[in-house]
Symmetry: D2
């Protein structure tokens, strides 16, 4: 079956013709020697956008998380995060392997925990237990359904972190979705974090990479880890150029994706057998339940019509992105309605 | 203040005069070369008791847990255990540091989870996630309040493990308390586990050490880890002899400790301001709540009378053991009553 | 000073216009889902070339080494390699960090050790020592001066490995230089190795990446490590296409680079104050000594003329590559002669 | 065959009757809570002896090395040591496993390297290479033949360390042999090291343990690692008392062992077929060669007469210790002479 409307993830976005042309013309050098002008330019753009001293270009968001954790912790330390967070489920236990650190999972709402929960999870200074060192926040929450961490909540948690000598980390896989939806300048987020990154290959439409920002001292340490983990490339300017193009052209339009997600959510909410609260759809992720254990069946039926969604812990997830037009979304809406009727009515 | 009745833990038990004499006369050799007759004898005793091929003597129970995990896993694997389990709170994140593995915590009842919970926690065979490799059970549950894993539950979970190609591990810090209280032969437990250990220094009254048992192949691998972690000692027969003495003299009498714990629990249940369900006190641990956030005050007041209890996650814990006579327990009962009245009436 | 002739490394090669055009037109998909056609095609090409079941695309050669080691070893294992090998000097101790394994360095000739040296370095099966698990070979030897491991030597060492149940790994950073210079089909090398990779971004002129090949089972495990280390990208087909183009167009021409290196070596051998045996220059690396501790001065003087070489452990290294024409080499020859005269005559 | 004269190692020394009595009467408590008076007393004795703030009692010397390294390094760091050093050959690659650090081996003389060698081995501050953090010295050198690091050499190396911001570590497995033989107060050694330990179970004759000393801040960190590695015991005062007794009674008498070693060395030097320079026998280790590849035969023949020596990298090693009387040594002398004649004359 050919896939017509791919809602499986915004990671699948493909570079446009304009982006490809821009990439093909990129000036390049050896980035391991700091000599790639396009990589350097992208890093300056991201550092400025996030209000940080410097930034470093990396082949993936996972590496941005793991390098941040490796720099902030020493072995035996612990990181507080929501129980739905990406490092718990999708990073192959990299934190334990690379940093020798453990995770303290919190039971938040839609991936968002409270300052009280965080406070209670901080360990005593006692050699029996892991030692809390970092609080990590995923903006937006992926398994939590694309929810936005409000700036006020972030601020409170950052104060707790300062009081307890903890580092703050933002997993910014979809941080610009949050910034656009909540109308917050990314640097306003950045001020509260010791490490913060944004992904270029999701809603922004670049083919590869993330940019991790922090203090000059943090980035200096991050370079060691980039090398050690195999993230130091050569003429990476080719792909970094995709990131430059994305930051210049594809940020504001994330609003379109959010509007499309809302359309899907409202359609889903109206169907018998499907369940979602459209008010919780704040960005481009639509996480919904299917009654009677029929999630797999529902997803299979959609796939028959060329619509691909993902299966996550018993639920289904549809993600909107820049490769999907209004027409595509309408096609999805139509077939979600039809499929729900077929199954549940 | 001199401590008269130390309920802080059964880890504090001191060797008796008879045990000391037995230890002083122990035959010894170089255990790193396998030439210590007392160590060898203790290991044969423990292996037989637990129904396993072989056993290895270790300086601590923590090392028994960590060596088992290190042998069973490779980096990036995951271990299922209750959220109250010892490796999560009291092992300084050793699993991440030593094995590079992660923990999947389950929300059990009194430290005991169901086979359904375990089943749901097993990861898909997918390179994004950690890979489940071990189910670990703490017998009895410490932070869970000394509860006993029933043999039937263990059997069901072991079947799940076999079906999913997982290893079974028992943290047997107080396993003989369970065996004595439930009248189960330790080898009946042993049959369901790939690794199982018992602690000699808690209720059994020996000064140092644990014995870890498993298949010959498992113990062969465990020797590498014992050396690597610094657990290979020299004329360890001196302390191993304490373990031999303990297994010969101090097992059956654990019933006394359980009776004493029940006395304390019933006293506590009767007091205004203190809360416990005495039916949940199955062995030698008495975990109770104090009303109005007065746990610290209550513990301080008891300490004034020479009674020491421990503070655990907002609750108080009293542990009975072989250094406490009926008279000591009566002294504690009297002062618990008195202190509760002073504070709450 | 503008750099006219950059001999610092073949890592600095830039994609040609034709390569850029080919990349810009690459078909792409989400490589984390195995859906990128260009990545898939490159992997099939490399697997076939190296005579292996499958291959995996990675952002760097370092990651290819470290993933191979991680799959082949468990913690506490040891890898035999020459004392000049890349993982000892240029991988930020990644082997210890990622795999928890140690290195047994051998004192070879030009980076090439004998089967007797390797045999003697294999550890006894004894829990006191690390356990030998892998023999790693760097083809060509970088710090050894671009020397070629002869096929016969490789065969002998592979037999030793089989006899001792060890894995064979080839660090193929410049393996195609060896294949072309020695007129050996890469698959002839491949047959002796459990893991073998080639670098696309050095003499082949692609901007980013390496391809690691092995058995289907090996690659299955490698996927976990690629994810865990942050090497799983998205629409990586863009850069993989550079690799496809390189394998199709830039292999045979490595002979040119070797000829250029020979020209430089012969020039250097003729100068007073410079020392090299031109017979040892087998590929594209020219490693030479400068008398009287004047290596730094000599390099600085060359740089004044726009010629950049690298400094390595007291020696100077010049590397030829596809961005250097015969004219460039002649320019270098002229100024090497002139500079040597200025300093030493 | 019964072993009459066991020269295999001083690790095999057994506690005397007086030591056993002293141990049996030791006052004990829970050392994990800092409440064991005998452990505390031993630690104060060792700290004072070594001129350090504090000390910590550990089950083995290996753990003392590994904890020191773990505290001094972060992942990716490197430690300089002689190529014969214990952590390279007898610690199961623990440094890589536990600390994620690498070793830079130096080719010293009898296990003793020069300050120039150390200086050259220090890495540049460059993210490609491991980062040098510690210089480790083994006093006396075991595989080096019991050689003593002269105080002057130590001082020079310590100055190099200070200049380069490196930590100094002494593996003091037989440090008191050096102190007694060279007539140096152990605190004179101690002043040059950030971490320094002595072994109680070798020539000192205690059954178990080592004591690691350093600054208060260092010991604070060491406690975390002691717990994490499973070295935190309970009523360890029983074995610590053996250490107290050893420090009080068995230090000065190490001179006897050195005299005995000299007797053996002179005998060996006189035999056809055996080779040793008696001037290199400075303490209690006698490392000698046997001609014509007959080391194994020679060791087997000695064993027939009840004399056990160890085989080390093609050589034989005899170690004298407090369980061997002058008579035992004479017995060994006689049979070494006889066996050498039988084989070589
Ligand atoms: Ca994309
Ligand atoms: Ca770290
Ligand atoms: Ca005890
Ligand atoms: Ca393992
Ligand atoms: Ca290149
Ligand atoms: Ca001893």
């Amino acid at each position: 079956m050919e896939i017509k409307v791919d809602l499986i993830s915004d990671t699948g976005t493909r570079p446009s013709q304009d982006m490809r042309r821009f990439m093909a013309e990129a000036e390049v050098g050896d980035e391991q020697l700091g000599e790639d002008p396009s990589v350097n330019r992208l890093c300056r753009m991201a550092a400025e956008m996030l209000g940080k001293d410097e930034a470093i270009y990396l082949p993936s968001g996972l590496m941005a998380n793991q390098i941040s954790f490796a720099v902030h912790t020493k072995q035996g330390d612990e990181i507080i995060m929501d129980q739905t967070a990406h490092p718990i489920h999708y990073e192959s236990a990299a934190l334990a392997v690379i940093s020798g650190a453990s995770i303290r999972p919190l039971k938040g709402e839609g991936g968002i925990f409270t300052v009280e929960q965080a406070k209670e999870a901080i360990r005593d200074d006692d050699y029996h237990s892991p030692q809390t060192k970092v609080i990590s926040i995923e903006q937006t929450t992926n398994l939590g359904g694309g929810r936005i961490w409000p700036l006020e909540r972030i601020k409170e948690i950052a104060e707790l972190a300062v009081d307890n000598n903890l580092k703050m980390h933002m997993d910014g896989a979809r941080m610009l979705n949050a910034a656009v939806a909540a109308d917050v300048n990314p640097a306003e987020y950045g001020q509260y974090f010791d490490s913060i990154w944004l992904d270029l290959s999701k809603g922004l439409g670049a083919p590869v990479g993330s940019v991790l920002a922090g203090s000059a001292e943090f980035i200096e340490q991050a370079r060691f880890w980039k090398q050690r983990l195999g993230g130091a490339m050569r003429q990476a300017g080719i792909i970094a150029a995709g990131g430059i193009f994305a930051l210049e052209h594809n940020v504001a339009r994330l609003k379109e994706d959010h509007k499309h997600a809302k359309m899907l959510a409202e359609t889903i909410a109206d169907q018998k057998g499907l369940e979602i609260d459209p008010d919780t759809v704040e960005t481009n992720i639509v996480l919904f339940s299917v009654a009677d254990g029929k999630a797999d069946l529902f997803a299979d039926e959609l796939l028959e019509k060329g619509i691909r969604v993902s299966r996550m812990e018993g639920k289904l997830r549809a993600v909107t992105h820049l490769d999907l037009s209004l027409e595509d979304i309408r096609y999805a809406v139509k077939h979600i309605e039809k499929t729900a009727k077929d199954i549940f009515v």
